[in-house]
């Protein structure tokens, strides 16, 4: 069985959590959940994970499995305590991400009369000024990667610095993982930078699918392929039903 793009994405997401130590990994969405659990079973067994509702799980169950040994209680009120306290890495979705790593999940268009109302800001403003934050973009396109987001829900480093030390102290936009590439905000003036392209993807394809001038280093490596151990974990343990292919199609 050949290595699929979804598996590459899962491993890239796992890598984003590899060096986090003993913190609360909060994945929003399917591939982030898969990647976090993969990290916990391989590179970072100290990660703390939840059922997405109110329980810390002692084991690392398959996606959406109901039962597992419980090691703690994390109702929403305590999530906000962890956010303010700091030991957390959240990977959120993003309807838009801009050149400066700002993210939008609130609405498209003018805030007063949006063309399309989305979720609202949720916890993005608090997450981005308190704990490590990454983004997952399942369909890399110039509709998502825009010059400037319509509404800043998640705060990028330049805006955090402009808002003062209270905002910048703990602002830490770590990775943006998409179906095409891995990026961060380490470009000039805290702009989005290409870190690697997934196997089979060219740098030009990523450039074309990005609606702003992307910082591209002279030498762009290829995102690593998942190891045989990781492939077994993904396919046979965490996602035997192939739910990941709903987000990143198998033939992509």
């Amino acid at each position: 069985m050949s290595i699929t793009r979804a598996d590459v994405c899962a491993a890239a997401i796992a890598d984003a959590f590899a060096d986090d130590g003993e913190i609360f990994a909060s994945p929003m969405g399917l591939l982030p959940m898969l990647g976090v659990r993969l990290a916990r079973l391989t590179s970072n067994p100290d990660l703390v994970i939840s059922d997405g509702e109110s329980l810390f799980l002692a084991g690392t169950p398959p996606l959406f499995a109901k039962a597992d040994v419980v090691e703690g209680w994390i109702p929403f009120r305590k999530v906000f305590d962890v956010v303010a306290n700091g030991p957390r890495h959240v990977m959120m979705g993003a309807t838009q991400v801009d050149r400066h790593g700002n993210q939008n999940i609130s609405a498209i268009g003018d805030f007063d009369r949006p063309k399309r109302q989305l979720l609202g800001s949720r916890g993005a403003p608090g997450n981005t000024v308190n704990n490590r934050t990454s983004y997952w973009v399942p369909k890399h396109s110039s509709r998502v990667f825009v010059e400037q987001v319509d509404i800043v829900s998640g705060v990028g480093p330049a805006r955090a610095k402009a808002a003062g030390p209270a905002a910048a102290r703990f602002n830490d936009i770590h990775r943006v993982v998409s179906n095409l590439a891995v990026l961060d905000v380490g470009g000039p003036d805290d702009t989005v930078r290409l870190l690697s392209v997934h196997p089979g993807v060219t740098v030009d394809e990523v450039r074309e699918a990005t609606g702003f001038e992307l910082d591209v280093p002279a030498d762009v490596p290829t995102t690593r392929e998942p190891t045989p151990e990781e492939q077994v974990i993904i396919r046979e343990v965490l996602d035997p039903k192939g739910l990941r292919f709903k987000e990143v199609p198998q033939d992509a």
């Binding site: 906000f80 009369r113 403003p125 981005t128 800043v152 805006r159 402009a162 003062g164």
Partner: protein, 296 residues
């Protein structure tokens, strides 16, 4: 004969009779979880208008927005979980029918309720800094720390108190005096809503004797004390179609039917409204039972 604490049992109509147009009403629960839906449905059928609604929103916000009851909405998100975007809320925002919206970070929302609960004008917080929450709500100010901790005086968000005239919450069980327990996985913020409000009306799946509150569940689940509660209404299935674990989970089929009607044509919505929302709570529950039998 010794006098006990007051009996606060009342009907759904009694609760609505205590509300006034223009009030600020906090709605407990979270998104599509343990919402006081029977009370929300009763508001839909009342003359109440110009309400300020404060809610971690789900269909409560969608329904009230659709019915034109909301003048001002304070929220951090509105979601049905399994249906990520609430169609009635989306429609209201896109058509501009909610005159005033205050979108906060969800932690700011908790901090605002905490400030109100502690009778403080504000509480400082990091969340919101650098984001458009402050741009779109220019009335929310920052406050400079009086302490220099080695990196200067931090400027923090002065999250304003979210004071409520009334809180509406739904729990699993209460006694007639207003002591109440939740039995599910998460208390959400219903105690905070109660403390932030002048008055709190509580609906529950079941009213039991006070001794019954702790026979089969730990005392730590006693979320609300009668000091915080002004009225108790027994509304079995009163959180439907949101979750009320362990009494029942979300009615996903019904929620899908709601979302489909809400995102469909005006005729689709009118048909849904006529079938489910035109009568009282007993009529609603009967229509839901009929719907469930059809779907079975």
């Amino acid at each position: 004969m010794s006098k006990g604490p007051r009996d606060k049992r009342m009907s759904i109509d009694d609760v609505v009779g205590e509300l006034r147009s223009g009030m600020t009403i906090g709605i407990g629960g979270w998104g599509p979880r343990r919402k006081p839906m029977a009370l929300v449905r009763a508001i839909l059928n009342s003359d109440l208008t110009d309400l300020t609604i404060v809610s971690w929103g789900g269909a409560d916000v969608g329904l009230l927005a659709r019915a034109g009851k909301i003048r001002r909405l304070v929220y951090a998100f509105v979601s049905l979980d399994s249906v990520p975007l609430e169609p009635s809320f989306q429609k209201a925002r896109q058509e501009g029918t909610i005159p005033e919206v205050v979108e906060l970070d969800e932690g700011m929302f908790q901090t605002g309720l905490r400030a109100a609960a502690q009778r403080l004008p504000f509480l400082p917080m990091r969340a919101g800094l650098g984001s458009d929450v402050l741009v779109n709500n220019p009335w929310i100010k920052t406050v400079e720390s009086p302490y220099d901790e080695g990196h200067g005086h931090e400027d923090l968000v002065a999250v304003p108190a979210l004071r409520l005239d009334v809180a509406l919450v739904h729990l699993n069980r209460a006694d007639r005096h207003g002591n109440a327990t939740y039995l599910g996985p998460d208390p959400y913020f219903d105690d905070l809503f109660a403390m932030a409000a002048e008055r709190t009306y509580l609906s529950v799946e079941q009213v039991v004797d006070t001794a019954g509150l702790t026979v089969d569940t730990p005392v730590q689940r006693l979320l609300l004390s009668r000091m915080l509660v002004d009225g108790v209404v027994e509304t079995p299935n009163g959180a439907h179609f949101t979750t009320c674990t362990p009494d029942y989970e979300r009615d996903e089929r019904f929620q899908r039917a709601y979302a489909k009607a809400a995102s469909g044509s005006d005729e689709d919505w009118t048909a849904f409204e006529q079938r489910f929302l035109a009568g009282d709570e007993a009529a609603y529950q009967a229509a839901v039972r009929e719907f469930q039998e059809e779907q079975a």
